[in-house]
């Protein structure tokens, strides 16, 4: 039974497409996080700490893009 399920999943393009869509949606969410982080810095500017947090948000977005591109190329 399990072997049959494995066979169905093997090479199934839908799973890969689903994974890419999920990756893309998460990337969009990260962009919202980055935007909100920038917006909050305008409300409260905690010196260098806010800048570091913003840099982390940007790093998150960059990593998300890299992961999405890698997924597109590899899968």
């Amino acid at each position: 039974m399990l072997d049959q399920i494995f066979e169905i999943f093997k090479g199934l393009i839908l799973v890969k497409i689903g994974f890419l869509i999920l990756n893309g949606l998460y990337l969009a969410f990260l962009l919202v996080v980055y935007k909100q982080s920038r917006a909050m810095q305008r409300v409260v500017n905690d010196g260098s700490a806010s800048s570091i947090v913003n840099s982390f948000a940007l790093l998150n977005v960059i990593l998300g893009i890299l992961l999405f591109v890698a997924a597109l190329v590899i899968l």
Partner: protein, 211 residues
């Protein structure tokens, strides 16, 4: 025999150094600061020209323990799965190595995102006490943002509650500011050193009433 001339008592240098060090820590904001008196290099929107920030508060860092523990637990799960698959109980060989690698990378990236969003929520949930106002900035679930402010003259009473062993050990509690009339009360939840906070606010209320 009574002492006619008594010199000044010796104050231990170490204790002075420790006090100075503590003061320095409490004046500086950093990535994990939850309590800061007269913070340096701190700006907030709509700050008045003659307004000075006296207290800068966040929830005690210990309150982040639940999501930190969850993140660590989630981080360990793939390692357990790899161990189980190596014993042969679960098969993952129907997936190509590249796909497994991408799933693992994406999984850890999700955990990183979870950590960051939780940290950001803690980082931007701030309470500020200035020489003129009390400001409460709420930021949660990334999309919710609420900034509330009241003048010191509107504050009628201030008290705090510190219930529980963990709160006593880490010295944090809830500070409740009662405002006049039908205005909503201000709650500073789980802030460090609540007794110091009510002392500062109490002094300010007294000054504003005298003025």
């Amino acid at each position: 025999m009574p002492d006619i001339f008594v010199g000044e008592p010796e104050i231990k240098k170490e204790s002075i150094k420790a006090d100075k060090k503590e003061d320095k820590i409490h004046h500086r904001t950093h990535l994990f600061a939850a309590y800061c008196e007269n913070p340096e290099a701190f700006i907030f929107a709509d700050k008045l020209d003659d307004e000075e920030t006296l207290l800068f508060l966040r929830k005690h860092f210990v309150t982040n323990a639940p999501w930190i523990i969850k993140s660590i637990s989630l981080g360990i799960i793939p390692l357990i799965l790899v161990f189980i698959s190596s014993t042969g109980l679960v098969r993952i060989d129907f997936l190509t190595p590249n796909f497994v690698l991408m799933i693992i990378l994406f999984y850890y990236f999700l955990i990183f995102g979870y950590i960051f969003v939780n940290y950001l929520t803690w980082f931007y949930n701030i309470s500020i006490v200035t020489t003129q106002r009390i400001i409460d900035i709420d930021f949660s679930q990334i999309v919710f943002e609420n900034v509330a402010a009241t003048k010191l003259t509107q504050i009628e009473d201030v008290h705090y509650s510190q219930i529980g062993v963990i709160r006593s050990v880490f010295d944090y509690g809830d500070v409740i500011l009662q405002t006049a009339g039908t205005l909503p009360n201000f709650d500073f939840l789980a802030v460090p050193h609540p007794e110091r906070v009510i002392k500062v606010i109490g002094n300010l209320i007294g000054e504003s009433e005298n003025a």
